[in-house]
Symmetry: C2
Subunit: 466 residues, 2 copies
Amino acid sequence: MNPISNEMIAELEALLGGNKVLKGDAIGADFAHDELPGGKFCAPALVCEAASTEDVAAVLTICNREAVPVTVRGAGTGLVGGSVPVCGGVVLSLAKMNAILELDSEKKTARVQPGVLLETLKAEAAAKGLYYPPDPGEKTATIGGNAATNAGGPSAVKYGVTRDYVRGATVVLPTGEVLQLGGATGKDNSGYRLLPLVLGSEGTLGVITELTLRLVEKPKTDVSLILPFLDGESCVNAALRILQEGMEPVALEYMDTDLVEFAGKATGNPVFPVEMDGERVGASLLLTLEGKDDELDSKMEAVAELAEELECLDILVVDTPTLKRDVWGAHDAFHTAVEGAAKSADELNMAVPAAELAGYVEYLKEIGEEKGIGVYAYGHVGDGGLHAYFCSDQSRDAFEPVMAELAELAYAKCRAVGGAVSSEHGIGYAKKAFLRASAGEAGYALMGRIKRAFDPKGILNPGKVV
Amino acid sequence: MNPISNEMIAELEALLGGNKVLKGDAIGADFAHDELPGGKFCAPALVCEAASTEDVAAVLTICNREAVPVTVRGAGTGLVGGSVPVCGGVVLSLAKMNAILELDSEKKTARVQPGVLLETLKAEAAAKGLYYPPDPGEKTATIGGNAATNAGGPSAVKYGVTRDYVRGATVVLPTGEVLQLGGATGKDNSGYRLLPLVLGSEGTLGVITELTLRLVEKPKTDVSLILPFLDGESCVNAALRILQEGMEPVALEYMDTDLVEFAGKATGNPVFPVEMDGERVGASLLLTLEGKDDELDSKMEAVAELAEELECLDILVVDTPTLKRDVWGAHDAFHTAVEGAAKSADELNMAVPAAELAGYVEYLKEIGEEKGIGVYAYGHVGDGGLHAYFCSDQSRDAFEPVMAELAELAYAKCRAVGGAVSSEHGIGYAKKAFLRASAGEAGYALMGRIKRAFDPKGILNPGKVV
């Protein structure tokens, strides 16, 4: 990789306009990191703000010619260092490409630039009576970042992940070539399927400069329920039965009581049950059902019957707007509450088969306890996605080597039970070693060859994924 | 590419057993072609019958070492020459890897070998009260072939295509390395998504030796309706309204009257309306609705209201088992009926945005008429998939150059209206030139580099796709 010459800076300034090329002190500290706890701070040499696909293509053409690294950035809300320029070079910010180009209520599609915030898209769709389902919790993420990481979230159990909603995309290759992938028709078996490969590739294969997204009808009425259980196994069993009985929950969250207690203390707002009739709750389910009024009633009755059969301790109904806001607000704030309350904290994210979830959480707690580290976990039990926070009163420096050991154990166990090394956050730079172990040498080497097929000089987000 | 040496044959015989390696006259004529009308006959030098993933890996290791072409074959029911060994070499038959390894009613998954026939899988799933939705019409295709071509069919409008049902696969790379792709958990963002890339790659990137498929609950009661219209535009408009009103049809087929008339005459079994009250029908919709009894009733009422509003000529209800068998049997037999009745015939398959469908069919008929060739078309209007048969009384030799010209025009127009060069049949060898034009030079070149990332020596199904 080459450093950036003054000639190259002048060329970029002439191309984009001087005020779109930031250097030196004009580059804010924000560009040097994302939201990975304890993550690296790596300032880029240059920040380029793109306004169009043509800008992106021109910047990439120049950087590819000069073999200068380019790291694409949206809102920087990632959790694995994916948008951090670990090899220096140029940060290409798409934050200002934030227009909703078209919102077609008849075709139920939205054509958007990548810098549109998830909350903006959701609000604009709602204003037209439509709904964009994927929601990883972080509402100030950009939709481009969601696509680059294939964001999921609780509603994926019914609605699927970001990849399921992208019908087409404009993608600029590292060489500056512009591809239109996917498109207007639902079925397409025309050669290799490049779109699902680029989605979730964390900015290492191409730069997404426009997305055509599928929207759905706004959901009918919904209600959330909290079901506490004495132990994790019963909680998971209940979740699996709810899925088997075809109740199609919109969310089905497994919450370990250690987590909800710790988060409740941290926020001073304990929403979820910790004890019932003098007995400690082991884990609770938080689920949302939706449907027309009578359909919803019959689903709730079915859950109530199941709950009795499955030794659920209680059913807490979350049906008013205030209650829903409080409960889902507390859920979406686990991340900030837990990490804010601990002196040092890391989060591990993986996918584990649902049947293994409770046992796996117990395992994490055990290995944490041996090292004096608290483990607080919740998961999307329908699709196996798990979030586990490791919290310590140690300094960051003392915590890190211990945490590295625990992460090794946690991902090894995850592989052993048939899980995947990342369910949602992606790989970034933080999880490359674990991906390699999980994909196997042949699979990891193949990913490397695919990377080179897209990016022969390796300029795009170097140091990430492979 | 190298010829096959006697040493290599001996090595393969020692490995697989002599009776699993066919050569010379022992190779039946079937191995030289698929069901592409007027397609090439290319006999392989050798046929190897694999019984396991290990067999496949061993055969590929040897062929890769010797740089000998390998073409994988299931039941040979493809329509673009995908399984025809156009470069000679070895045909690797997976037809005898036809075991259903596991059918788990609780997890709703089936673990199968690739040689299982689609009709067998459907029947075995049904015996356990489960349903495998993808159905391209050809029931004697193998499930491995369905996965390799990402087969679709009418029900894709509601249920999606094969790719949507593959949770995991064992894939052998051309180098003999074995990958486990996908797996037990729903969410997985662990590096590049290789599985959707291999599915639909028509045996050019890897060999699928095992599949884990998602099954669903058996559908509730269903009913089919035939709605005839005076012209194609009204027919498409009605289809779009049915989709917009959220009736979730399981199938939504656009049938041009020229097609149903020609096919009805050919079979002597005219099922679909050609004339109503002395006026010629332009096109009919064939749709299937499903749901619980009262749900189904209300959907049918809604269709009836719409039909009146949209100047539908009649509503024919297909509700008895006999009627359903007759109507869908006639639909699934369009292909054989039309091609059997013509002296020379070809089928073009593409995807066209639904709103363009009627106009596009008119265009095909016009260009056909200029050359004295009849065009008979139907399509899955929900996702744009179109099947158009070009029929002539000319000899094959006279027909082919004319047909080549028409195909050029048809795919050029398809690109112009935002369509895709293949909705279901794939590319094979027959449609490579059209893929190149449709993907563009940058996209096509990238596909070529991806091919080399998987298959450095280019031994796997050479001459196909890219």
